[in-house]
Assembly symmetry: C2
Homo-oligomer: 483 residues x 2
């Protein structure tokens, strides 16, 4: 074993031990007391951040300085530099610290009873029912990998602690000085809390990550947040479940009966509110009726005059050439779509456009080309015609995407907007947590079966025969079982 | 591409297309109507089985004949032959057919609203609320791999159809003739139903499976049922999520205050009710007080006289040597435990034994050696002493196993016994479905956001400023959204 691999195996093992220790330490507390202990730790993190603000600021300035230099040499994007800076944008620092206290205040995702069944009634005289409960519990050890933004270290650490997990965090190398001080804050807070010090650990290099993603005996979930390349490389290297998304290839479909003003407003918001977000649309599907209804022309003018480059199929291109270009000087923004355009996540002011003959064709297009992130249909309002409702029903039921919206901007696909309080990320997986993932995505569940009374609850007692016990299988109150 | 790989790619692609088509076909129906259509298909399967009973019997006889010959040559176990036979054991055939109709009657796991939130109220005058719903939906395409028992083909096909998924099934080669006729029954039933013919397909060879587990663009979940070797080899070959368990290394811990009769009955049931089951215990942890309380001696005698071989640690071995062997002729069943014994799933009349000083040591032992399947604590009944309750609380909260039982046999870890009606298998994964998995484990969920009224529900409308819309984030009634 190389020294490197050895060190990283120690980190992984320490994380597992810390996770198990934390369960031990809190196991004699009630669920509410355990949550209070976790939330107290978060408040310690917030306090430590405030205590070390000047030191964090100094470290962050040095990271920003170095990044600025690299940006001048063209080795780093300006966007990256601005993401790195914790203090330039007013309120960014304060909202990071406040975020930690907000997570502390969220309802605990743990120890929630989601199913409770009486398996068998007690026997007359002898007493002793047999009850089954499904209760939420932490997943275990999380490995969280993200790029530039140093505040994500603090966010993810808070979410991990609140949800009872251990975490190993890796930020971008550009933010390493800031990250080191933030990690010290978290360590200080843990050392003042009842939780084990190694519950949150940091690693620094890609090589460490390459080792860690192989350690499925210690690590239970990988959460990569960042570029498509980052997520894909993680997905390819690990057998551990990955929570995240590589692509946000979102589409909007404008049905035949969509009101024009509604369609324009929703398409513009979905594309333009934040073009580089994963929940911005990359493809616009337009029902063929709108080639002549005037809506496609209206949409094209609205998008082109906002500077959006359109990659059009033959039918939509013809309308733009005949009805838009003669009166608008935007020819440079219009081109014929290639097959690849419908598979491209532009993350920029570009949009692929295709005309479809009916809602089913739109669904087929999205099934073949989309990434299962967020897709929307724009149609006559729900209080309106039966015909449109049917299109919305077909769209919402036929698509397997994690978020399917009717007459709402794709940009609503977001944990905060969904009311989750905090967001772990957005997942396009088909199992476990999907769509915008809040604290709920960092927990799993276990079954607790509790046999009451002096009865020996054996399966033998249920074997056919005289005096055999009978299955009850009736729902009982969903409460955390008192054992 | 070899012909083999080409053929198997067609199977996978056809499954995906059939899945998408089935969503299309049912998308204009209400959730209840769609469930009725799926359940009708199941009743068609049951009818087809009854129609073709003689043909199935003839095929099964030939499979059994061949297997019997192989068993005589020592190439196959007798157990395998008996598992293969659909007709020898009275009621086996009938209960298989009845099982299909029982699954049809189960409540649909689909289209259930598990969360509903009003994201924003409508604006006065303009109307139009913005609501978010989380609703259950199928996962997609399942790849189910299992060994000898031919009835599993019918079980899994029923569960897949009921939960709205497509399935590719692969049985053992010993049952290939039976499987071929069963597959014809399923195909006939599908051809009489509204669902696509390719919704359930069969493949026959291991080579096909090796290709299929790589096709993550078409397949969403792999369900291997069978030996540890089968499950491990699948887990090692695929990046697709796997639902199942390689090991069932279950433990029972007998706490200091456990009543003797209760402990004996529960340990015997957990070990002896069906020793080759995955939920039978393989390790017995005994609190040190029972070295002198007489309970360990009692347990040892009960187990040894039932023919259970005991692999004992030093302390438990001493008691057996001094207090059991002088009066019982069972010395050949007693041996010193090695480290490996605590990691061994015997699936037979063997048990590893270890004395622990307290409940925390038992938890540590299970965390280090167990497989996260099912672990039980035996202690003073829940109506009893506070001290014991604390041990049960520590045990249930500190263990991450998917099933943790208090004073109940480990053999209750089973989908039927949990009241799920049908069992897909038992999963030891930390994410998605865990423990005994019913139909619920074959579904996932998606978010549907519905914007009402003529309002354009843009995120721009929520941007700070005059007339900004406000987030409501209030719970609303959990119903399937009408769109």
């Amino acid at each position: 074993m190389t020294q490197d691999l050895h060190d990283v195996a120690v980190v992984a093992k320490d994380a597992r031990t810390a996770y198990e220790e934390s369960l031990h330490l809190l196991s004699e507390l009630s669920p509410a007391e355990a949550d209070a202990a976790r939330s107290d730790t978060l408040r310690e993190i917030a306090a430590a951040l405030e205590r070390l603000e000047h030191e964090i600021k100094a470290a962050n300035e040095r990271d920003v300085e170095e990044a600025t230099l690299l940006a001048k040499q063209g080795k780093l994007s300006k966007q990256m530099v601005s993401r790195l800076d914790l203090f330039a944008k007013p309120g960014k620092w304060d909202s990071m610290v406040k975020g930690v206290r907000d997570v502390a205040k969220l309802a605990s995702p743990l120890d929630i009873c989601t199913r409770a069944t009486r398996l068998a009634e007690g026997q007359e005289g002898a007493g002793g029912a047999l009850d089954m409960y499904s209760v939420t519990c932490p997943i275990g050890v999380l490995l969280c990998i993200f790029e530039a933004r140093p505040e994500v270290i603090v966010n993810i650490a808070s979410l991990a602690v609140k949800s009872g997990n251990a975490a190993i965090l890796k930020g971008g190398k550009e933010s390493r000085r800031t990250a080191a001080v933030l990690a010290r804050c978290i360590a200080e807070a843990l050392s003042r809390s009842v939780l084990p010090l190694n519950l949150v650990q940091m690693v620094n290099t890609r090589e460490e990550i390459q080792h860690l993603v192989k350690m499925d005996e210690f690590i239970d979930l990988v959460v990569p947040r960042g570029s498509k390349e980052l997520v894909l490389s993680i997905q390819n290297e690990t057998r551990i479940p990955v929570l995240g998304h590589a692509d946000g290839l979102c589409s909007a479909y404008v049905h035949s009966d969509a009101p024009h003003a509604l369609a324009c407003a929703l398409v513009l918001d979905s594309k333009l509110d934040y073009p580089s977000a994963c929940n911005a649309i990359e493809t616009l599907l337009v029902h063929k009726d709108h080639l002549t209804s005037g809506l496609w022309k209206e949409l094209a003018i609205a998008l082109l005059t906002k500077g959006v480059r359109l990659h059009c199929d033959a039918r939509s291109l013809e309308v733009v050439r005949n009805e838009v270009l003669p009166t608008h000087d935007v020819a440079s923004l219009v081109e014929a779509a290639t097959k690849a355009d419908y598979k491209t996540e532009y993350l920029d002011l570009e949009l692929a456009v295709r005309v479809t003959d009916h809602v089913e064709a739109a669904v087929d297009h999205i099934n073949r080309n989309g990434s299962g992130h967020t897709d929307i249909i724009i149609c006559a309002p729900c209080s309106g015609a039966k015909k449109s409702m049917s299109a919305a029903a077909i769209f919402t039921r036929s698509l397997s995407s994690s978020s399917v919206f009717v007459n709402a901007s794709s940009r609503f696909a977001d944990g905060f907007r969904f009311g989750f309080g905090a967001e772990v990320g957005i997942s396009t997986a088909r199992t476990h947590a999907r769509g915008p993932v809040g604290l709920d995505g960092l927990v799993t569940y276990k079954y607790i079966v509790k046999g009451d009374g002096d009865v020996a609850h054996t399966v033998g007692a249920f074997a056919p025969g005289e005096n055999a016990r009978a299955w009850a299988h009736t729902p009982i109150e969903k409460v955390y079982p008192s054992v």
